[in-house]
């Protein structure tokens, strides 16, 4: 084993070192005064010293900026005042860099190197205590789920043990209740389910094989089967026969829009874009993996969502991504962290980097997103990854294979990744025996995925496959099981290309290795497909064929290891019966007095974690790649003001565009889940309108992240949220086209069950005929008038202002659908006829935050009068007018010459001309009784908004 250490020349700035210095300081440790970060490479093989020199000079080192040293390192030792640690991936975690280094080694003509491993070396200077070093290692340097510290000379990796075939069956027929319970517990079956399985196998007169039980477990899991959403609910004494079918899907069915091309049946929903093109849209959660390994969890979350898009219809090209994170509070004291949880700050940095590194490398612009913070997300952070795809109309529908079509896997090789969660974690060993080498979280390799995308899109255009899907949760077992439902399938598991030897047939079958797609390929097309894949540097392998017997048959070295009836696999699952209750809680505003001075309140609202600028994240995502950008996440006079939605032109040369927005309001759910869901939908649609779109063609996605899926109150909240989804979708005529759920986001801490706030993310995808009508949210010109459209109510529940004041309760914003629809339609007409100079929807922080954002985005001042704000009901205080988060409100900038025309258009709705734009550089607010309540430099407001996340 040869070791090479590459470091920056002393005069080069070490950005990674500096960033770590800051992180260490943030931990409250001031005894480390300098950090160096070095790259380390290990090479295994019979390599000559000359070859190592060549490799160092010509591949590993940039001699203008770096130097190298060949030889062993010092480990975990004190050398003068420096402490060094070398961190490397655990065995079984794929090192994403290995492949490319091996390629360049081959290009250099060096043939003697078999494997490459990389490590990162940290040298800390100063006088930290042992306890401080331990803290730095565990909180910043090492995540034992995927990494460990090298503590000595790396030995040769042990040879993987050969796997010897042995058919395993599980004793189900002769099992008593106790034994059945144990089997059910291991595989995640309910009592009902395992009984059904026992009866089924009793009728066959044999026991199931392990592969059969695993297949049933995967297919019947909540993740794949959405049991809760399909269940029969007993809700407040009424019966709901299938929650999804009777709410969200029902709305789509009733609306029956001809532009909905494929809904709720494929890996993503598909709508029509123009005569030639269609759009696929999907948002996924990847919560649990991101909690334990934020970087890899978020990266593979995005990778999985992209594969969903690639596996929709006959494959779509990913054109834009959207990411939403819900995290614990960044300032949380370390001593309050639940055991086993990573600190929110670390999770934030990790998921941000995971999305950036994966998305940027794939060349998919991350155009939109949100980051929300709540203490209750600490142990269960939520990571939503969404992707839009573009596909030809002819490819919009799910394909259908014919019996005899080949089952082909394209992409990465299969390893033990993701099999049965975490059983492997080691901080001490250098190479753990490969027998145990498995990890539930992978780092992901975006370049492997990029090769797959390039190959598959070319194959699609040459019509080389009849159907496609991705290998996600459950691996081949769900992908092939699902694809073969209408035909039957025969799979030869020994033909699957493996990363390393030693996998059993069942492991191959259920492995969740990343970056694999599954295709049905007519036999005459396979050679051409294989040729394309080879050219793109990826593999296509035939692992079986589709049959016509509606049976799922798996073979390993000619032994039949699974023979399952597709009917039983897909329809044998007993229906869940669930109890759900909901008791509405009317909550008056809590009493509060001596409120904050308005300017200070506004600055605190603007600098709250939810409201503050996310520029730190946004700039690290490539949101321009593919060149489609029309409205960016940040725009305005200095390109740094917040915009309401992303607009892109997906087809080069066409002015037709799409708008992507997200609505999410978990704080409202604490008070009323119905209005939380309604508000999320209305917010997503409001943003579509605010950037210049219309409701003519808007598709929605629902993404539920919920607490318990068995407690009646939690399910009651779920039912209420789903009912809101139905009501609002029908009212706005905006169908749902796909969705996803992640249930049981709960965590036991010190004997108490902590649940996340019930969280519903609504994502909207709107088509806009002509992007030249798009408007931004930044003020354009002094002298222009400011209109507030829509009424303000006393709806302070869940508001940022109440959070700043430390208050809970209050009335949550409702949606008055007819009024909302009317306002949206009129404003949409106003933007189409170019009456508006800017428009911004009011959401977190209400009117105060909205007006401030428009002002600093445009680098202009303004004067508004709260007395001109249209109110509804009893609204008695200025701070309520300023910070209520009532829905269906928009701030609009209009040139004085168009004021009459605009007012005429709005006639009959609630609106008020609340002031005008000024070049004073100050935001001046006159209260309802005519006195000045604020006159604050806009630059101060902007600073308050930008400061918190300047990391």
């Amino acid at each position: 084993m040869q070791r090479v250490e590459v470091s920056l020349l002393p005069h080069m700035p070490d950005a990674r070192g500096r960033s770590l210095e800051r992180d260490i300081y943030d931990l409250g440790i001031s005894s480390v005064n300098r950090v160096r970060v070095l790259d380390v490479y290990y090479f295994d093989g019979n390599v000559t010293p000359e070859e190592v020199e060549t490799l160092c000079r010509e591949a590993l080192t940039d001699t203008l900026t770096q130097e190298y040293r060949i030889g062993p390192g010092s480990y975990d030792t004190i050398d003068g005042d420096s402490f060094s640690y070398e961190v490397t991936y655990n065995a079984g975690v794929e090192d994403p860099v290995e492949d490319s280094i091996l390629k360049t080694i081959a290009d250099l003509g060096i043939t003697s190197i078999n494997t490459v491993k990389t490590a990162t070396r940290y040298e800390l200077y100063g006088n930290p205590t042992q306890a401080e070093l331990k803290t730095i290692c565990s909180r910043l340097l090492v995540n034992p789920t995927v990494q460990h510290i090298v503590t000595g000379e790396l030995s040769e990796p042990p040879k993987a043990p050969e796997y010897e075939f042995e058919l395993k069956t599980v004793e189900v027929l002769g099992s008593n209740d106790e034994m059945l319970k144990r089997i059910a517990g291991e595989l995640g079956f309910s009592q009902d389910e395992i009984k059904t399985i026992q009866d089924y196998y009793a009728s066959l007169g044999r026991n199931p094989t392990d592969a059969e039980l695993e297949t049933l477990a995967q297919t019947w899991s909540e993740h794949c089967g959405h049991k809760t959403f399909k269940a029969r609910f007993n809700f407040n004494e009424t019966v709901i026969d299938g929650l999804l079918a009777s709410t969200i899907m029902r709305a789509t069915k009733e609306l029956d829009k001809p532009w909905c091309l494929s809904v709720f049946k494929d890996n993503a929903g598909v709508i029509s874009f123009d005569d030639e093109w269609a759009l696929a849209f999907k948002v996924e959660t990847h919560n649990h993996p991101s909690a334990i390994e934020p970087y890899g969890g978020a990266a593979t979350g995005l990778g999985g969502c992209v594969r969903d898009i690639l596996g929709t219809g006959l494959s779509a090209r990913p054109i834009a991504s959207t990411d939403v994170f819900c995290l614990g509070l960044p300032e949380m004291p370390y001593e309050d962290l639940p055991e086993g949880s990573l600190h929110p700050r670390r999770i934030f940095k990790g998921v941000k980097s995971g999305v950036a590194d994966y998305g940027n490398r794939l060349g998919i612009p991350t155009v939109n997103g949100a980051v929300l913070f709540d203490r209750r997300y600490t142990a269960n952070p939520l990571v939503y990854c969404g992707t839009v795809g573009l596909l030809p109309q002819w490819a919009a529908d799910t394909g259908q294979q014919k019996p005899g079509d080949l089952i082909v896997v394209v992409g990465g090789r299969t390893g033990r990744d993701g099999i049965h969660g975490v059983t492997f974690a080691s901080t001490e060993l250098n190479y753990t025996s490969t027998d145990e080498a498995q990890s539930s979280v992978q780092i992901g390799n975006p370049i492997t995925e990029k090769k797959v995308i390039d190959a598959i899109l070319e194959a699609r255009d040459k019509k080389l496959f009849s159907r496609i899907t991705d290998c996600g949760g459950g691996g081949f077992s769900s992908a092939i099981g699902e694809m073969g439902e209408n035909t039957g399938a025969r799979v030869y598991l020994d033909r699957v290309p493996l990363k390393y030897a030693g996998l059993s047939y069942t492991e191959i079958w259920i492995s969740e290795s990343q970056e694999r797609m599954l295709l049905a390929v007519p036999p005459e097309c396979f050679d051409e497909l294989a040729e394309i894949c080879q050219r793109e540097g990826t593999e296509a392998t035939v692992i079986g064929e589709f049959s016509d017997d509606k049976m799922l048959k798996l073979y390993y070295q000619d032994n039949l290891v699974c023979e399952l009836d597709m009917q039983f696999l897909h329809h044998g699952i007993p229906r869940l019966e669930l109890e759900a209750t909901y008791i509405p809680r009317e909550q008056p505003n809590p009493p509060y007095e001596g409120t904050l001075e308005p300017a200070r309140a506004l600055k605190e609202v603007l600098s709250s974690w939810n409201t503050c600028s996310k520029e730190w994240v946004i700039r690290q995502y490539d949101h321009e790649v593919q060149g489609g950008s029309v409205l960016k996440p940040l725009a305005g006079r200095h390109n740094d003001g917040p915009m309401d939605g992303a607009v892109i032109q997906p087809v080069p040369g066409s002015k037709k565009g799409i708008i992507i927005t997200n609505g999410i309001n978990p704080a409202y759910g604490d008070i009323d889940p119905y209005w939380m869901a309604a508000s999320a939908i209305e917010e997503a649609l409001r943003q579509v309108i605010a950037v210049g779109g219309s409701l003519d063609r808007v598709a929605l996605l629902d993404n539920f992240s919920w607490g318990s899926s068995r407690r009646a109150e939690s399910l009651g909240a779920l039912v209420r949220a789903c009912q809101a989804c139905y009501d609002l979708a029908i009212a706005f005529e905006t169908p749902f086209i796909s969705g996803k759920d992640s249930l049981n986001n709960e965590y036991e801490h010190e004997g108490r069950l902590l649940s996340i706030p019930h969280t519903l993310l609504i994502s909207a995808l709107a088509v806009i005929e002509d992007t030249s009508t798009v408007i931004s949210a930044d003020f354009k010109k002094a002298g222009n008038l400011i209109y507030l459209v829509g009424s303000t109510l006393d709806e302070m529940g869940g508001s940022e202002y109440f959070k700043v004041l430390g208050l809970s309760g209050g009335k949550v914003p409702r949606v008055f659908v007819l009024k909302a629809l009317d306002i949206m339609q009129r404003l949409s007409k106003a933007t189409r006829e170019k009456m508006l100079e800017s428009c911004h929807d009011l959401s977190d922080g209400g009117l105060g935050a909205g007006i401030a954002e428009m002002a600093f985005a445009g680098d202009l001042g303004a004067h508004i009068k709260l007395g001109n704000v249209p109110l509804e009901g009893a609204v008695t205080k200025d701070d309520i007018i300023l910070f209520s988060q009532s829905n269906s409100r928009f701030l609009c900038e209009v040139v004085p010459e168009k004021a009459a025309e605009f007012e005429k258009l709005l006639y009959g709705t609630e609106f008020g001309c609340i002031g005008s734009i000024e070049d004073t550089g100050k935001l001046k607010i006159t209260g309802t009784i005519g006195e000045e309540i604020m006159n604050e430099p806009v630059s101060n407001l902007k600073r308050a908004w930008q400061e918190p996340l300047k990391w």
Binding site: M12, P13, A15, R16, R18, E58, A59, L60, D62, L64, T65, P96, V97, S100, I101, K103, T104, D107, L108, G109, N360, R361, L362, G363, N445, P446, I447, K450, K451, D454, R535, E536, G537, R619, Q620, Y621, D622, H623, E624, V625, Q626, G627, S629, V630, L631, K632, A635, G636, R637, N639, Q649, P652, G653, T771, S772, V774, I775, S776, D778, K780
Partner: protein
């Protein structure tokens, strides 16, 4: 009818290239004929560089930018295609490298040429920076791609965009493009110079002026509404970046 001559552009992809489509579109709009090919087709000699007049290395993360940006594809070109590239340049062809393509060119030894060396290394901020930058063209450079241009406004998107060279060699580079302030002045500090690039250099040419590498993305600003402030009436059509492509196409047409 007279058939207009269309210059032939060869866009070379490798695993991880991801700006090839929009770069192809920009050249198409500029009046060129495009072939988008995989580098393996050149390495295996199934395709000849000499059939083309313009060669393009687009942006992306070739081979994941593993080790460092553009290193592995740069090595591949240097070790497998050097003779073809040398012949292509000496016979009068144009080469454009954008972002990762520029990194590939410096690693392959194509830029700055004449056995000089520059590197594109990690940004001073330590971060990936996706932002719009003001650029000033060096009027005394013979770079074909920047002729007739004074200023450009384009996005950058990279984490390794800082150009470094030996101090005594820095001033002898054929720098064609500099980062500057909104007013057009230099030196430019962060974020005007988003990477900390020495001498504010954003793009360099070889001595012939026909081989050019730049970190900003001209293909991301060829239409008006890609400009971040088009809604403020600050942009015109076509976008600033378009001239880089028409310059190349027109130059070939004039031959």
């Amino acid at each position: 009818m007279v058939k207009t001559f269309k210059p032939e552009v060869l866009i070379i992809r490798a695993p991880g290239t991801n700006c090839d489509y929009e770069t192809a579109f920009a050249f198409e709009e500029a009046g060129a004929e495009i072939s988008r090919i995989h580098i393996s087709q050149l390495v295996e000699k199934s395709l000849k560089m000499s059939n083309y007049q313009i060669l393009v290395l687009p942006g992306g993360f070739t081979y994941g930018d593993d080790i460092t940006g553009g290193r592995i594809m740069g090595n591949e070109i240097r070790l497998k295609l050097k003779d073809d590239i040398d012949r292509f340049i000496s016979s009068g062809g144009l080469i454009l490298g954008i972002c990762n393509g520029f990194q590939v060119m410096t690693n392959a030894g194509i830029l700055p040429g004449k056995k000089q060396r520059v590197s594109l290394t990690g940004n001073d901020s330590g971060r990936f920076e996706c932002r719009w930058v003001h650029l000033a063209v060096n009027p005394s450079s013979n770079c074909v791609f920047t002729q007739g241009i004074e200023r450009l406004y384009l996005p950058v998107a990279n984490s390794e965009g800082k150009l470094v060279a030996d101090e005594n060699k820095l001033n002898s580079l054929n720098a064609a493009l500099y980062y500057c302030t909104e007013a057009g002045t230099r030196p430019a500090a962060f974020p005007d110079n988003p990477s900390g690039s020495l001498n504010d250099i954003a793009g360099i040419s070889d001595e012939t002026g026909r081989v050019f590498g730049m970190m900003p993305h001209p293909e991301r600003h060829i239409r008006q509404n890609q400009h971040p402030r088009w809604t403020r009436g600050e942009a015109s059509h076509p976008g600033d970046g378009f001239k880089v492509f028409t310059n190349a196409v027109e130059w070939v047409k004039r031959l």
